[in-house]
Symmetry: none
Subunit: 227 residues, 2 copies
DNA sequence: CACAAATCTGAGCTATTTCTTAGTATATTA
DNA sequence: TAATATACTAAGAAATAGCTCAGATTTGTG
């Protein structure tokens, strides 16, 4: 399973100087990169590495960029940015209709390329709907996914419900009683389930040395806050 | 719910001649259109009509185009294409980072605009292509054909309906109840049909050692996501 | 009708989750 | 500092959810 950390970008470009230049710029932005100097190799690299985005020249040795774009599109909807010297409108239309998402004419500004790449990647990364964010914690309610600092964390159902409760009101101190009522409805009491589950959450959320997220308020209860 | 028929495109442009020109061209392509001549009205129209794509000028009366883009982005990830006379690289970067997906400089070619709109819509509305793509899974809704990584897979009727439901909202976790309601309407419950059919789908989709597509969310239900 | 495919049921098995208990650690305060 | 209250952790028992299989039933087709 790739790319929970930084997005991987495949560069397919036969002019080595340009390829190297783009690669260094992308790496400076924190992306991981993969380079190919002809169409066939580009297609193989694509299949091997399953990148998050492709930057590609049109005029490539061995296999034409348009053909590569079409073949990639057969099995994937990865964003494809075409980068070329061909500046006629018909070329642009042809490139876009072949499955490309963007078309930049050389000489291009690297800043613009980077901005366009950001825009495309923004679209691909997880849905922005129904998300809770507190500090570096991201909770996707629809998908029941939790990330902390890019690291994906799995939670059981009860764990997730408890975390959701705390995260929906960050900064609010919840008493054990309040938590029992909401997460364990109909609960008779008599044990320290809440404490135990807070422990489970902490182990998963802060287990790898991250800053504390769930704080104990002695004599009262617990809060989730970035602090 | 929008767009059962043709995609709706919102045009926000204060130069009425240009607005009219774009509108006619888009209509000629079969799109439905909606026009606003200033930023505030654009934002209201957006909220009222929930379009599939927005074409917007940057320099608008009452509210700046960038501001409109940012506000739209707060609640939606509709594609936004910016159309403007500002051609400096910094302007492009600013526009894209404000949430726009594309940036065309006036005077632009209408053919290019149309091609770019096609490219963006292809990504957003399966209705227009009748195709759903998730990871290397391709579902042709009209032909009821499914491919995974180029391999054609046959599904029975019920299997296909279940897959279609999951694939139309990739990343969303469906509860068994939700699935029963939609795929087995009028079902009385009492058995584990859903589990069994998920099993059938998995066998066909992942039977040859491919990466998992349908994930179990214990205590909740199932999700389709590339992961 | 006969046959095949598709649909659905229920039970057994397994792994995970949930919850309790009891002992340990930490904080508070007399 | 000692005594006490409060919070944390580990370990295991019980409950539950999910998977798979075999077979029963229904539907469709020549």
């Amino acid at each position: 399973m790739e790319g929970m950390d930084q997005p991987l970008i495949l560069i397919v470009e036969d002019e080595k100087d340009i390829a190297r230049f783009i690669e260094l710029e992308l790496q400076a932005e924190g992306y991981r990169t993969e380079v190919a100097y002809d169409g066939i190799t580009g297609l193989s690299r694509f299949r091997e590495t399953n990148p998050n985005l492709v930057v590609m020249d049109l005029m490539l040795p061995v296999m034409d960029g348009l053909e590569v774009a079409r073949r990639v599109r057969k099995t994937s909807n990865v964003p494809i940015v075409i980068l070329t010297a061909k500046d006629r409108v018909e070329d642009k239309v042809e490139g876009l209709d072949a499955g490309a998402d963007d078309y930049l004419v050389k000489p291009f500004s690297i800043e613009e390329l980077l901005a366009r790449i950001r825009a495309h990647l923004r679209r691909v990364t997880p849905a922005i709907t129904g998300e809770i964010r507190v500090s570096d914690l991201i909770i996707n309610l629809e998908g029941r996914e939790v990330y902390r600092g890019g690291r994906r964390i799995e939670f059981s159902n009860k764990e997730f419900e408890l975390l959701e409760l705390l995260a929906k009101s960050p900064g609010k101190v919840f008493s054990r009683f309040e938590i029992e009522e909401k997460v364990w409805p109909g609960y008779q009491g008599g044990s320290n389930v809440v404490d135990v589950y807070i422990g489970y959450l902490r182990k998963k959320l802060e287990g790898t040395g991250e800053r504390r997220l769930i704080h104990t308020v002695r004599g009262v209860g617990y809060v989730l806050r970035e602090d």
